[in-house]
Amino acid sequence: MSNLLWLLPAFPFLGFVLLTAIGKRLSSRHVALIGVGSITLAGIVSLILGISLLQHPLEHYSHTLWIWIDIGNFQPGMGLYVDTLAMVFLFVITVVGALIHVYACEFMEKDPDYSRFMSCMNLFVCAMLLLVMADNFLLLYLGWEGVGLCSYMLIGFWYEKPANGYAARKAFTMTRLGDISLAIGMMYLFYEFNSLNIAKIVALAPEQWALQPQTALIVTLLLLGGALGKSAQFPLHNWLPDAMAGPSPVSALIHAATMVTAGVYLIARMHALFELAPAVQGLIAIIGAVTLLLAGFSALVQYDIKRVLAYSTISQIGYMFLALGVGAWTAAIFHFMVHAFFKALLFLAAGAIIEALHHEHNMFRMGGLKSKLPLIFWTFLIASASLAAVPLLSAGFYSKDQILWYTLAGQYGNPVLYSMALVGALLTAAYTARMMLLVFWGQAKSQVLRPPGTRMSLPLIILALLTSLAGFLEFPHNFFHFTPFSDFLNSSLPLTSVKEQGFSEGISQVLAAVMTFVGAYIAYYFYHLRPNLLPVLKEQSWLLFLQQLWLKGWYFDQLYDFLWVRPFQWITAKNKEDVIDGWYSSLTSATRTMSDSLSLLQSGSLRWYVMGMVLGAILLLSLQILL
């Protein structure tokens, strides 16, 4: 089985190479065949691996292709490693990836750069698989920056618009800031353990760091920095909404399902280190809670449907971070998987709507699509139900409820975090319901030009099925004991310990359900029952201020612009001519001035020379007399 591992990244890589080299000359059918085919083949391999891991969940597969660098005891290899944790990610990346590729076949077909799109997407899947399968940090970092590159190329895919290029560079630069932090953490780890092998580090850390909490603290903080950048968490979160400039399949694959959860993967993978630094774990929980609220409020007032989804992604990843922070490892991964399904579905459906309405992004100009695009409506409804965590029926309920419960009852859980998460649940339901109402109910404001074809519809249906079924992989403990998902993961992630609590899980579930309904009702009230109320409220200046604040994402862009971008631009513009070069130039110009003034003496006029000699003689004489 281990010998199959290399095929996983190899197929997409081959697809990338083929499409880059000869893609321009291929017909769009062949481009689609290569692009989708490579991911599908990788998907088949991952299913084979998955089935064999299901049978023997305690095993792991590893395979080293070659030694990358070999200097002294620094010997990172091109080594792949798959255990149950990596398997869940592999499954999501390849299966959701393949579905999104099928969708993109139709979505991007008319684009003149169809083959470039497919080749970038294939490269992305390859890099993401390497990130997840790496057995050492250096290879992980290769994947880590590789996905960042693909994200850059795909956000700026329609490169003729300068704003897209700006969004792409913003995403790359901000995530790179995190990447640097990760790289420094990596160096630290190397000198601590004389190795970058992840399994070795995880095995050695508890013993070696038992007496060095300081080191554990620094290293985990550095790793966390990397995770924050990639996963768009506070304070490095504001690149993600702009990243929506890319085509919708990109948003679905990269900025919802896979790449942005790389930080979750990293923390889960290194859980043994984070457990040694409880302070950092607490910080992760706080960051998660803060992020989910910040993004939740912002999602509430957006006009652009993709921006709502972007903020919602930030917010949902915030839940995952919260779960990681309170030590609910498997709950975080479960939410990752469920979220990947429903959020990919939401983005794909949103893309289909935008296409159908001739590139209309503004939800206020949509409306009434319920009857016009029934397939999209039903699939969108299923995914929205999951996002809003509608009790019992939706997968999102099962995954989010678990997180909520552990936020209260888990090892590091506390009531403050719990109440923040509850408010987040209310916000989620509210913005989801608002989006549904604006897009599908009410009067039609735009004409449907192009309903989606089969290749776009099929992925929607399959994702809807996955979304509906995924929830039943893990039931709450108070229902009945059926938890195959966390059982599967327990070979690579520790069990979540629950502390004694006066509060039962049932009450928490009821509270969560109430929050969902209240949130949805608020949206229903303002956007359906009493739509005239909103313009009235807007007249209140403080409400208008709040709306603007949330719409602009709490002005983080402006803040960073003021703090970093402007000073950098100012300094570089000031020093464009290079002060050091200026110093040398002044040297030459001083020499030249002196030479010029001295050369005045050599006027060629005899009178001046005689005069000079006389003056000199007088000077010498007088000096002799005086001294």
């Binding site: 920056e145 300068p162 630069t173 790289a183 420094i184 160096m187 020093n575 290079d578």
Partner: protein, 506 residues
């Protein structure tokens, strides 16, 4: 014997191309192509033939040696020798020489004979620098490579070529004189100590110096090499020389002339003055870190494409300085890698700049934009080398910069952290290049031709090399290992207390 024949081949080839212009103005380029190709093949055959020797233990001092008495009275001999380190740099020299000939194929139409003469003599001079282990001979070759480059910039350069050529000449010549003084000082110090006056490198190793004298002798060498490298604040000649030189000139400047500075530090300063070098390690590190950031900042604000690339060199060479003064195997291997990968990636960027200049007749990136649509292949390669330059994993530059940072991290944590932040800025300026040239809207220019076959060949080879070095850097590391290990051992012997080899168990 191969050592001498390489230099003779390049010099003869140069003379021949000069003469062949009388037959036909296009003859010199063929002569030059043949010469560089032969020399490249020779070096590669030599490398392959000696590859097994790098695993020998103990590794031989030199792979190949050639010695001829020159002026025995003063202890001067014509003494060439190479080890793995010089072999790598020789291969690089011949490789870039080949590319330099290819990229001038169309660009140079006037006085072709003299052009290729100069080009080949630069290569001969640099090859001599990498091989000479007699300090007098070293200085001789150091000067040889300077003069043809002066002509190359001054005759075939851009508008401000005379200014740039003067500046280049004065900077390198003045600093070269300091080195000559130091060489003489070293000669006398060693002579007074042992009674044996010689310029032979191997005999000069291990000379002990009285306190301030050693420091000043080292500084003479250091300044000469720092100017070439270039290290802040001696970098001012570089942007002018780079931007005014013809494409081949910029390629050779960035690709190999800068490397002679790093090579000099590796070959002469660290082994001859280990104690003194350790004393200045911290300020040298700071200069390196400053260079990384300062170069990146300046690169960001430039509008002249070649000037911009020149400042990225300053930034990348800052890493080299850091790696050199980290004194451990990881960092020094990183330095060797950086010398090669920087030559390839920056060389490729200069080639691209040359191609754009040929098509658009401008170097101003404000005049460009949206060229991807017209020239997708050129755009792809531009993106590839911008990414290489920002140190993306998978490219050779990442291996180099990561090793340098990892090595420096051992003893200089804060330096490393700050230099690592420089990688954010390298992303900023690299992506700015891509954006300004290839992306965005564009209607200014009409039909533009994409790569010709010749250009595709050059860029393809460069792209494959940079990927290859990123994924399979081991052959290079392997080749440099004996030389680097020896250097590290020498340094650690000098200060057992100050230096702890990183592989010692905790």
């Amino acid at each position: 014997m191969i050592l001498l024949s390489l230099i003779v081949l390049l010099m003869l080839g140069g003379a021949l191309s000069y003469l062949s212009e009388r037959l036909n103005p296009y003859a010199p380029r063929w002569v030059a192509l043949l010469t560089t190709l032969t020399s490249f093949v020779l070096v590669i055959i030599f490398w392959l033939g000696h590859y097994h020797r790098f695993t020998l233990s103990p590794a031989p001092n030199w792979l190949e040696e050639f010695r001829l008495e020159w002026i025995p009275t003063f202890g001067i001999s014509f003494h060439l020798a190479i080890d793995g380190l010089s072999l790598i740099l020789l291969a690089l020299t011949c490789f870039l020489g080949l590319l330099a000939v290819l990229c001038s194929w169309r660009e140079i139409q006037e006085r072709t004979g003299f052009f290729y003469f100069n080009l080949l003599w630069i290569l001969a001079g640099v090859a001599g620098v990498f091989m000479a282990i007699d300090l007098f001979l070293f200085y001789f070759f150091w000067e040889i490579m300077l003069i043809p480059m002066y002509f190359l910039i001054g005759i075939w350069g851009g508008h401000k070529r005379v200014y740039a050529a003067y500046k280049f000449f004065i900077f390198t010549q003045a600093s070269g004189l300091l080195m000559l003084l130091s060489i003489l000082g070293l000669y006398y110090s060693h002579g007074q100590l042992t009674g044996h006056y010689t310029f032979n490198y191997t005999e000069l190793l291990g000379t002990t110096f009285s306190d301030p004298r050693g420091f000043w002798l080292m500084m003479g060498f250091c300044i000469a090499f720092a100017v070439k490298l270039p290290l802040i604040p001696f970098h001012a000649w570089l942007p002018d020389a780079h931007s005014e030189a013809p494409t081949a000139g910029s390629l050779l400047l960035a690709g190999i002339l800068l490397k002679t500075g790093a090579y000099g530090l590796l070959r002469f300063v660290l082994p001859i003055f280990p104690v003194q070098a350790m004393e200045i390690a911290t300020p040298a590190m700071w200069l390196g870190v400053t260079g990384v950031l300062y170069g990146a900042f300046l690169a960001f604000s430039q509008t002249d494409l070649k000037r911009l690339i020149a400042y990225t060199s300053v930034s990348h060479m800052g890493f080299v300085m850091m790696g050199l003064f980290a004194f451990n195997e990881l960092a020094l291997q990183g330095v060797v890698m950086q010398l090669i990968t920087h030559a390839i990636s920056t060389g490729a960027l200069f080639l691209l700049a040359g191609m754009l200049k040929e098509r658009l007749h401008t170097r101003d990136i404000g005049q460009m934009g949206g060229l991807w649509t017209r020239m997708p292949q050129l755009g792809t390669l531009g993106l590839v080398f911008a990414l290489a330059s920002l140190g993306l994993p998978g490219f050779g530059n990442f291996v180099a910069e990561f090793l340098i940072l990892l090595g420096s991290f051992e003893a200089h944590r804060w330096h490393t952290v700050i230099a690592a932040l420089g990688l954010v800025f390298s992303a900023v300026y690299s992506l700015r290049i891509v954006q300004k040239i290839f992306l965005g809207p564009q209607n200014r220019y009409g039909v533009l031709a994409d790569f010709t076959h010749r250009e595709r060949l050059m860029m393809g080879i460069l792209a494959i090399s940079i990927f290859w070095l990123g994924l399979f850097p081991q052959p290079v590391i392997h080749t440099a290992r004996p030389a680097i290990v020896k250097l590290v051992e020498l340094l650690s012997k000098e200060s057992d207390t100050a230096y702890q080899p990183y592989y010692e168990p905790k």
